[in-house]
Amino acid sequence: MLDLTPKEVSERSALRINPLKTCQPVGAMYAALGVHNCMPHSHGSQGCCSFHRMFLTRHFKDPAIASSSSFTEGASVFGGGSNLKTAIKNIFDIYDPDIIAVHTTCLSETIGDDLVTYINDAKIPEGKFVVHTNTPSYVGSHITGFSNMITGLIKYLSENTGIKNGKLALFPGFVNPGDMREMKKIMTLMGVNFTMLPDTSGVMDAPMTGTYSMYPKGGTKIQEIIDLGNCEMSLGLGELTSSMPAEFLDTKCKVPYQTLPLPIGVELTDQYVMALNRFSKNEVPYALEEERGQLVDILLDSHQYTQNKKVAIFGDPDTVLGLAQFALELGMIPKYLATGTPGKFFEEKANALFEKFDAEGCIAKGNMDLFELHQWIKNDGVDLLIGGTHGKYVAKAEDIPLVRAGFPIVDRYVHSYLPIVGYKGGMRLAEMILNTLMDRQDRDCADEDMEMIM
């Protein structure tokens, strides 16, 4: 089934088949949902907004609200200024958010809508805010859009008043609410006073209470975003995703920054913890040491099952790089690393990783699609796939097990509530990988080789 992929790899310059990325606006929408009492607003055709809400809803299984400028033929000729003006009025009148976070689309970008002027001219009620970012769909990917929206929020809101607030600004990268909760937990354990932007925990993993709230309890507060300019320093997790906002906050408000890979696996979580330790000067508490020790213990107990297993990892660049490092810690061979997001950075980082671990015969490629990855696998197979839902077609066609991690996962539940970052996230990942490989061994082995104890 679904096996139309020819083994022979032919050069393609124009045709994208089965993408490993989507467009900027959905990333911007996700980032905006991580601001408390915020209405994300899509300045473009209605379909964009509808598709993005559908996409996010399918991944998080939670409502994703956003409004649209609802472009018509007229707007595409005369510009979307009046649409945005009407939209801003209607949104504040009816949905009453504290802030509207506008992102553009390919349409409004191409017709050259000037959002800065539109927003300056708009009537914004006292104490309310409208911010925007440019997210042309034909540049970068959803990851770029996510970075752009965070940067846009800082651009409009953050201020350096000259009085430091003693806090760490944390940019979590394009991760799930479950990951954000884990990052926050670790900061709290390390005694770090922080502001995280965005924070979709409590928004896209909001609990069932019997009432629907358009703006759930979670999300970074506007006052906190303003106060980001007074932070002692910022830490950007996921170098590709979080560098832009961290650099921008430095430029605008003189907040020095550091970027680190997403804290996936042992060493990268260590780096995160040590960075927090340098910031807070607090000792690493036993609770974290214990978690780390447990994770290492698990890797030790089970290493025979993961050693030398070949894995293909695909998805968003920072996530794939983190997962690749963890795979290497498990003794696996991250044979193929693939992301759809364009940019050389991914390949450079991946190659450095291969070198560091002496991993031979591994390839990493950015600006790539799942079709090509499938072709690679057809030519030289792997034991395991790690990535999002769309990999299930490859998994089925090639009969290779798939561990779901990353974005989007639209065919499973619970994933967005639990972390893959931190030591706890490492345990969860290890469990998923081991269960998948060992279930497979149980399924495939001859009766006489069936083992009771593994």
Binding site: D3, P25, Q46, G47, S68, I94, C106
Partner: protein, 453 residues
């Protein structure tokens, strides 16, 4: 108390409370959405894409930036009995330089690349928003490709901003007409085309099986489980059955005009609609034997299915339903179906229903029901709560909303879990709403088992 403060003043005319308007003629529908509303609606491209997507052996190439193709990749759960090509995502992934210098060359190259790897019979090229603005001449590119490769390469003019989802249905119907219009009309065959079933969860197969039992030949399915060859046979049919009227009435009218094929509207949702439709098909075919077979089959099926449905009736007693779906015709079918179950429909809304749909809806629901066009989540929430709905029938964006409100849910859209058409579909539907309304999860929502937290 109506939460009138929650309604945008501009929206007031798109919402009707039955007791004040009576005939429904006053509802405002088929209009552009208001800027700034959290509409559940999609765009022209989406309309075109969902109608054509089920054509299984077509290469659907989305000409635009990557989003439009990634969001519609294998979007709607249409099943295939053969080819799987349509379940892949093809696009030109337009980048900044393409937007500046034009995307025609890239589109031509993309078609060449498809041709170098596969032997397609049919390619659709979808124009998205940006293509409409940068002025790529996709018609010329398609024409050149047709000449070069001697296959059909059909442009679908669907820039998202150029109307509503319904405009997209029309664009898709035009593309279908372009594919199926023969040079010379073929002689008529005794048989029908099925229009407006997309084979979600295999529903087309259920309908085709019914027709087989009646002795009615299904010539072409449009578009569920269709192939380019099967579609081209459509002009020889003597009758068109139109199921999803919202998307397909336009095509049926075109076919009536150009191919001299009359059409009847049918619905296979619910026992009554299914039975009624089967009989009408048999009569329309003008064959006494078919009528006899239809009557016998309907009776058998009713005898089989109604006792099974009656088992649910106790669970359904006193329950109230809310409906929010894409088209008016489906909404009407669902109201009737709920009636069969003894469930009262208290709120009905659609994204694209027209005046006639809304008049029909008004005549089916009770006086206190709320009827609304192009609703947003806030309206859905406030009316479902106010009306005390126990279950919502809707699509992907409505599911988590319903659950957050503690209301049961059934997807009657792309994510339906089981076929919901025909007699077995009615059983599935009853089983699904019963499971959702009576799930043990409602008992544990709050400590102590009080559902109404």
């Amino acid at each position: 108390m109506r939460n009138e403060n929650d309604i945008l003043p501009e929206r007031a005319e798109s919402i009707r409370f039955s007791q004040c308007s009576g005939d429904g003629s006053g509802i405002k529908c088929e209009a552009e959405s208001i800027s700034g509303s959290v509409s559940q609606r999609a765009c022209v491209f989406c309309g075109a894409r969902v109608v054509l997507n089920p054509i299984t052996d077509a290469f659907h190439i989305v000409h635009g930036p990557i989003g439009c193709s990634s969001y519609t990749w294998d979007i709607r759960g249409s099943l295939s009995s053969g080819e799987d090509i349509y379940r892949n995502s093809y696009s030109t992934d337009l980048r900044e330089r393409d937007v500046i210098f034009g995307g025609e060359k890239k589109l031509t190259a993309a078609i060449d690349e498809v041709m170098s790897m596969h032997s397609p019979k049919l390619i659709f090229i979808y124009a998205t928003c940006i293509v409409g603005v940068i002025g790529d001449d996709i018609v010329a590119v398609c024409k050149a490709a047709e000449e070069k490769y001697a296959i059909r390469v059909i442009p679908v003019k669907s820039p998202g901003f150029s109307g509503t989802k319904k405009t997209g249905y029309k664009a898709a119907c035009n593309a279908i007409m372009s594919l199926i219009t023969p040079e010379v009309l073929p002689p008529k065959e005794v048989g029908v085309n099925i229009l407006g079933d997309f084979n979600l969860a295999g529903e087309m197969w259920i309908i085709k099986n019914y027709l087989r039992i009646l002795g009615v030949k299904a010539i072409s399915n449009i578009t569920g489980d269709a192939t380019s060859e099967s579609l081209k046979k459509a002009p020889s049919a003597q009758l068109n059955l139109v199921q999803c009227a919202g998307s397909m009435t336009y095509l049926a009218k075109q076919m009536e005009e150009d191919f001299d094929i009359p059409f009847i509207k049918v619905s296979f949702f619910g026992v009554n609609d299914t039975s009624d439709s089967l009989l009408r098909i048999a009569y329309a075919m003008g064959d006494a034997e078919m009528v006899r077979k239809a009557k016998a089959f309907i009776e058998d099926e009713k005898n089989r299915v109604i006792p099974l449905l009656n088992k649910y009736k106790r669970n359904f007693e006193g329950k109230k339903a809310a409906i929010y779906v894409g088209g008016g015709f489906k909404a009407i079918s669902l109201i009737r179906q709920f009636k069969e179950f003894g469930i009262k429909t208290v709120m009905v809304g659609t994204q694209t229903g027209n005046k006639e749909d809304y008049e029909m809806i008004q005549s089916l629901v009770e006086d206190d029901a709320v009827v609304l066009d192009d609703a947003n989540p806030a309206e859905l929430e406030s009316f479902m709560k106010e009306m005390g709905a126990d279950i919502l029938v809707g699509g992907v964006k409505e599911r988590p909303l319903a659950y957050k409100l503690g209301i049961a849910f059934c997807d009657h859209n792309h994510e339906r879990k089981h076929p919901l058409a025909g007699y077995e579909g009615t059983l599935n539907f009853a089983s699904e709403i019963n499971l959702s309304m009576n799930s043990p999860v409602w008992e544990i929502i709050s400590p102590g088992g009080n559902k109404n937290v």
